[in-house]
Subunit: 139 residues, 2 copies
Amino acid sequence: MTQTTTTLSGQECWGLLRRHELGRLAFHLAGEVHITPVNYAVDGETILFRTAEGNKLLGVVMDSDVAFEIDGIDAQEAWSVVVRGSARVLEGQEAYRAESIPLRPWVGSDKHTVVEISADEVTGRRFALDKPWEHIGRG
Amino acid sequence: MTQTTTTLSGQECWGLLRRHELGRLAFHLAGEVHITPVNYAVDGETILFRTAEGNKLLGVVMDSDVAFEIDGIDAQEAWSVVVRGSARVLEGQEAYRAESIPLRPWVGSDKHTVVEISADEVTGRRFALDKPWEHIGRG
């Protein structure tokens, strides 16, 4: 069998993380696992996102253990980057870190709280696709 | 402020789930939350995916509580559908359910085990995007 999966280096993973801005956050909430899309930006080797009061914020305040994922696909290949780490709300002056990076809210709602994910582990894979049929496009 | 977020009906959520095939599974593993992309298909109102031995399978065998997400974005809007539910490995004859739906492996590796997510809750949102600048495309 041909090798169809390639492991990405840490540098490649951070490169992909820096070039994208929509990811998915998985977090604990009351013993359950939850997942939600988030608009994010990279600051150094941390991931920042904004949130309003709600499940996302409550989840990471109660249990900082989180996972974060981005992925992409085209006709020939798919790739994904997964970050495992811990999340914390940035307080006071620290929250201003979000002002100097391209972390802007997409939706016109008030999302004042900035959350940082610090990475314990970053892994990425690239998959050559075996596709005898046409896949449906995203969107 | 204009209303920029719309809640999708259950029917709209299942319609989107049926039209797509790449989602992200969040699951528990040894007390941590993990996330991974999965190629899936809808069968009735359940989600099926294939997996090989590994973290994904171990996770859902140890703790069936899972969350699953799909999303999409274009110039004007973004949307997401989140399924919360429980996962189980389909055994024996049940696994043949995967043969009658378009659930094919994208990558040429052996993924013999079929996992079913039965939904406890399906929620979806559509967001009109506030974008004074150009967002980077996916890929």
